[in-house]
């Protein structure tokens, strides 16, 4: 007879076994080889060296890569917070069927592969693309403009990929608000702007923050968009690790890059989560 205390572990045993074999072991092996040595002619050598980490932390090339990755991720997060929160608010004030329709339009792209969405931006960004032609027609640019291989282009395309997540997150918070708080503020003479700033935003702050964390972590580790729009020149941590693994075949260095990215992401996630819980846990639960 199965004891009740064993039941949950027996039920989760199949998934746990799979995780232990095919998640823990692979991640551990990445940590392990990030300490291995790599010689251009000798390949990977089993050893314990901090060489790869020292190279990443001291080389100005990698400094630039990390600065670009987190800089772009930060700006994308900022753009998503502003655009996503505003759109979620506008959506929440719509009536059906418009509400349902536009929610579908905003969330639908999440079901389309990132490669396809990024291809769309590549078509728009090229020097013969619509953006370039539009700017020239408006007299804002003298000659053809290309946003391909620029940080701005990567940022715009990434914002497009990430902003639906922000909308969902804020949308979920907005659903919990009592609409009469807004009506009360308006009837007491507050302007629409004051209502948004003093009544709405404080109440959806947990949604904004959790959305922002998600967007930041995903932008920092994004691969397809920086690879296609950023090209070979504008490397991010993810595309640099990809290069080390599949082109240079310097797996130890690539692993060290991945480990640093993983650690940085987890620190940001945990730190901000703590902050949110301390600040809002008491109020919203």
């Amino acid at each position: 007879m199965i004891k009740p205390s064993q039941a949950p572990w027996l039920l989760s045993a199949p998934a746990l076994t799979l995780y232990a074999t095919f998640l823990i072991a692979p991640i551990a092996s990445v940590f392990l080889i990030s300490f291995f040595n790599f010689e251009f002619y000798g390949g990977i050598q089993v050893s314990f060296t901090l060489k790869n980490y020292i190279e990443i932390l001291t080389d100005s090339y990698f400094y630039e890569v990390f600065a670009r990755t987190f800089g772009v991720a930060f700006l994308v997060t900022l753009a998503c917070v502003v655009l996503g929160t505003a759109e979620a608010y506008v959506l929440s004030r719509m009536r059906n069927p418009w509400k349902g329709l536009f929610l579908m339009v905003v969330l639908g792209p999440l079901l389309i592969s990132v490669v396809v969405r990024t291809l769309g931006w590549a078509l728009l960004f090229g020097s013969t693309g619509l953006i370039s032609k539009g700017l020239q027609a408006l007299g804002l640019a003298a000659g053809p403009v290309s946003l391909m291989y620029t940080n701005l282009g990567v940022g715009i395309a990434l914002t497009h990929v990430m902003v639906p997540f922000m909308v969902i997150s804020v949308w979920a918070s907005l659903q919990k608000i009592n609409p009469s708080t807004e009506a009360a503020a308006l009837s007491l003479g507050a302007s629409q702007f004051t209502v948004i700033r003093r009544v709405i935003v404080p109440q959806v702050m947990p949604g904004i923050l959790s959305g922002a964390i998600m967007v930041f972590a995903m932008s920092a580790s994004a691969f397809a968009t920086p690879a296609i729009v950023g090209g070979r020149r504008l490397k991010t941590v993810a595309t640099a690790a990809y290069d080390e693994f599949l082109n240079t075949l310097n797996w130890p260095l690539g692993s060290a890059l991945a480990v640093l990215l993983l650690i940085a992401t987890i620190i940001v996630l945990i730190a901000t989560n703590r902050l949110i819980e301390r600040r809002y846990g008491a109020v919203f639960n």
Partner: protein
């Protein structure tokens, strides 16, 4: 009293929707060009590049391959997720929170890290570039999505229904199959769907572990774009967008998009 959007809100909304749709509309438009290079269709719509897909077995093969992979990994993931979700939803035991966090942890790990971790590990155990490896990796990545949705419907389950069945002499298996499973079915279906879509769209991890004989559609499209952006790859992408639009309408009818997405999001 019903609050309405002011003119500023509606202008913002229009611009936002334009921003969301612009790249997708662009792909769909360029796909109809009759020219041999990237351009908007100038003299009439042409199906030239859609026909060209049919003569390009590489894309067709990759599409069918991705369908099969998504089907297999979503099915395995849901089968593994159901008992785990029931364990977490129905029992209170030490380590419950930790177990749940562990099951959801693949969401926290960037796919680029998973990709090279799997490549390294599969090379070590000798299954690099195999179908087996790809399926395993996809199962791991999609389990959290399946688990979340099954969990959300299992949490609201009334335990007395299960006790009633057991006390009337039903075996645990019959109780599960006839009582519990039908009740959590909405979560199981939406969990399977989101798992399938996540697997079908996955690029970053797959690109590390896909071999020439196990190339998924996103990997095929990415490698093509890295090489050259031409109307052919645009037509393939446009076909994908059309298929997704149809899928979105069906899904919205079946499970409701909002439900599918609240809890999507990986971080």
């Amino acid at each position: 009293m019903y609050l309405r959007n002011g003119p500023i809100g509606l202008v913002f909304h229009t611009l936002f929707i334009l921003f969301i749709l612009a790249p997708l509309v662009m792909v769909c438009a360029v796909a109809f060009t009759g020219d041999g290079f990237i351009s908007l269709p100038s003299n009439g719509l042409s199906l030239r590049w859609f026909k060209a897909i049919l003569n390009n077995p590489r894309f067709i093969d990759a599409f069918l391959f991705s369908l099969g992979l998504g089907f297999l990994s979503a099915s395995f993931a849901i089968v593994l997720a159901i008992p785990s979700a029931l364990a977490i939803a129905r029992f209170r035991f030490p380590g419950r929170e930790a177990l749940m966090a562990f099951f959801l942890s693949p969401l926290m790990i960037p796919h680029i890290v998973l990709g090279l971790a799997f490549l390294k590990f599969f090379t070590t155990i000798g299954v690099a570039g195999t179908y087996f490896g790809l399926v395993i990796a996809h199962i791991i990545v999609v389990i959290p999505y399946a688990l979340r949705l099954v969990l959300s419907s299992a949490t609201g389950l009334d335990p007395s229904l299960e006790r009633a069945a057991l006390s009337l002499g039903a075996s645990p298996w019959i109780t599960f199959r006839r009582i519990v499973l039908p009740l959590i079915m909405p979560g199981v279906v939406s969990g399977w769907v989101i798992a399938f879509i996540t697997s079908f769209d996955e690029l970053t991890m797959s690109i590390f572990i896909a071999s020439p004989s196990t190339t998924t559609l996103p990997v095929r499209i990415f490698l093509h774009i890295e090489d050259t952006i031409d109307p052919l790859v645009t037509a393939v992408s446009a076909a994908l967008i059309y298929m997704t639009i149809i899928a979105i309408f069906i899904l919205d009818r079946l499970v409701g998009l909002e439900k599918l997405f609240v809890g999507k999001g990986r971080a």
